[in-house]
Symmetry: C2
Subunit: 427 residues, 2 copies
């Protein structure tokens, strides 16, 4: 296909490429773990104002404002250090196209255990066309691409023909309350692209995600050995129950969007902590994790099912039957979502992809949640994830393929040109 | 039996009883967790000097001095805050009896999780003749009893007829290096009593104790699910192997001293820590624990056996076979010990018990280690544990029976009178 975008915008992206890589490296040095996004958000707000000449709104998510929203996830933490940054480019008096949001989250997950990394996760390094570091893929490369798509358009002497926003959001990795707050405050548009790093494939569905905490908290005494019951040993009963629950979930008929995925709805036991002294019998164990849910499954139904499943397993154990584990839920209460991938929005994205990549866009379905759900489920705004190619998200030695970042930058510029239309600034 | 001790010494113990309980309460307020004994040791050193008119030596254990000692346990911590306090009462020019050490450790184990306690573990409270608090039983009540036995003798106008020491030692709960250092520096005697809280029963044997750490540390990837292998799930393989090892150990012919104990040599998995984020797959799990060993079993042999056992189990697991756990040892490297309970020393203790309690002393054998091992194994000094009645050692709501503390105080005074002889200070 031929580009709708003037060629010198694409050339501008090539010209700015070194600067773009430097920018990615710079923002990846901020240890913006969820809840600690403020410093990076201040940097980006400044950048949007001084480099991109945009109007910027900043606010921290207000839990009271969104607590009754069906997309709300209950946090156990404050948002004092979690500013949302909205950079706006107003529409011309007579818009040429539809309004648009490019949105990315700047929070990243913990890099621990840092000792296992090949190099410092906060000092991103380049090796063989890849950049390595915590958050480079998920999703600072995408954030960089969306910013530089806009920067190239601007530098080439154009501006969007409709209202346009760059949204840098927070706490995506624990709740999505950053993106939800922005929508609840009215920062909406006719479409939204999120450059999550799924290999230049538009996502047409994503599972939901629910966080759980299981606490074994006991002063149960095994009189036969005159000792309290060891909660680490009891924990194996719960671990095994969760593994069986995962197996059961994936043996059920699959949601049609996920029919080709071997196990779309996973359980991850992310943490297990018990005891603080080798010679003491540990009496409190806490494990936290995440369970996936299909689009259409309600969060409340999965809570109930998981709880009953675990308690039933506990009931088979002589000790846990006497003192059942506490099962609570916090953080992610995210429903699954299916996107209408036959929409004009997807067609525009497919075209932009094909124009730049010279081959048709595939599709992907996600076994994790993203902020795209809010737009689709609660605001009837077409939105999807489309971003660069990377790997080891949430793992050691996370990486992003730089060539794909440049491609995504161009696809985003092409998409914007088509969706919003372009206005020459001289005109 | 009739008391060798003048009756007014026993009366003095009754007289001082309120003060003794206050003293126990006062020293139990010090949060002297192993490694943080200094403040309490300063208090006790002052007390020995100003209240008991003793000469006091203070030093911190010097690892270099004891590193080659067969009783040494390798610490992973410093001893900057762990003073050993030795209070001495010199022998008369012509000793009347044998020299004696009363020794107690002032370090206590962690009270966590504090939230499970009925009341603050550092604010000892009295209920129904018991005192509750971290360390009241293990072993500040014993320390109090040994001090007040001596104080009563002194207040009644007597002093020991031989060289006598009150030794307040440290790091008993992790290594025993406090007591070992004192012996290595030459603070020896003809016998030693340690008032550990085993219910007024002299201990005639104790198991050894070895601390282990097992680390599952992996970047193993399960390609079938394109995810790293979850170390919490792999941890269950190790937990199960340790449970089987414990079972195997206790199915072996028992050491004769422990033949009536159902499971003398336990494994305790004291800690299990993995992961820091519910949505990340945890890639490093660390568990620490303690394994018991019989008298006569060498620490090195148990290390080797445990290591081989765990690695063999790991080898049966498809993932752990590829990346076997690391198994290391730290802290307790304590051999088991058998005391000669037909010795003059035990007879003297039996007599003192019978004199005060009006019934014969039973015996106990210990499924845990104590500092008594050093005297018996490496210095040929008769020594045992004999102390008050308590419960929930190393657990929530630790308690000590106060009546038994008074009895032990009297037994210690009686023992000292017999073992060292008494000299009237006026003579």
């Amino acid at each position: 296909m031929e580009a709708a975008i003037p060629n010198h915008i694409l050339n501008k992206i090539d010209e700015l490429w070194t600067e773009e890589v430097d920018f990615l490296q710079e923002i990846s040095r901020f240890p913006s773990v969820s809840g600690k996004e403020k410093a990076l958000q201040a940097f980006l707000a400044d950048y949007f104002i001084s480099e991109l000449d945009m109007d910027v709104d900043r606010f921290t998510p207000d839990v009271k404002e969104i607590a009754d929203h069906p997309g709300f996830s209950p946090p156990e933490w404050g948002y004092e250090e979690s500013d949302v940054v909205i950079a706006k480019q107003a529409a011309p008096e007579v818009p040429k196209g539809k309004s648009l949001i490019f949105q990315g989250h700047v929070d990243v997950v913990s890099p621990e255990p840092v000792s296992l990394w090949s190099s410092d996760p906060w000092v991103p390094v380049l090796r063989d066309g890849k950049m390595y570091g915590r958050g480079v893929a998920d999703m600072k490369a995408g954030v960089t691409a969306m910013i530089f798509a806009y920067k190239a358009i601007k530098s080439a002497g154009y501006k969007p023909g409709a209202h346009f926003m760059l949204q840098s959001v927070v706490d995506e990795e624990r709740t999505g309350n950053g993106a939800l707050s922005a929508l609840a405050k009215g920062y909406t548009a006719d479409g939204a692209l999120i450059p999550e790093p799924f290999g230049l494939r538009p996502a047409k569905a994503q599972v939901g995600s629910l966080w759980f905490r299981i606490t074994i908290n006991t002063a149960m005494k095994d009189e036969s050995i005159n000792q309290v019951v060891n909660v680490v040993e009891r924990g194996t009963v719960i671990i095994s129950a969760l593994q069986k629950y995962e197996k059961m979930m994936n043996e059920r008929p699959k949601h049609s969007a996920f029919k080709d995925m071997p196990h779309p709805v996973d359980i991850n036991i992310g943490t297990f902590h018990a005891g603080d002294f080798p010679s003491n019998v540990p009496v409190k164990a806490v494990m936290e994790g995440r369970v996936g849910l299909y689009p259409g499954q309600s969060v409340e139904a999965v809570k109930k099912e998981l709880k009953e499943w675990v308690l039933e397993a506990a009931d088979q154990d002589p000790w846990l039957a006497k003192q059942p584990p506490e099962i609570t839920f916090f953080g992610f209460h995210a429903e699954g979502a299916v996107m209408d991938d036959q929409s004009v929005f997807f067609k525009t994205l497919d075209n932009a992809h094909e124009t730049i990549l010279q081959q048709p866009a595939e599709r992907t379905v996600l076994s994790s949640t993203t902020d795209a759900r809010f737009f689709n489920l609660y605001y009837d705004i077409p939105a999807t994830c489309y971003g660069p190619e990377g790997g080891n998200f949430h793992e050691i030695d996370e990486w992003i393929d730089l060539q794909s970042v440049k491609q995504v930058t161009k696809v985003y510029a092409e998409f914007l040109s088509n969706w919003c239309g372009l206005i020459s600034k001289e005109s």
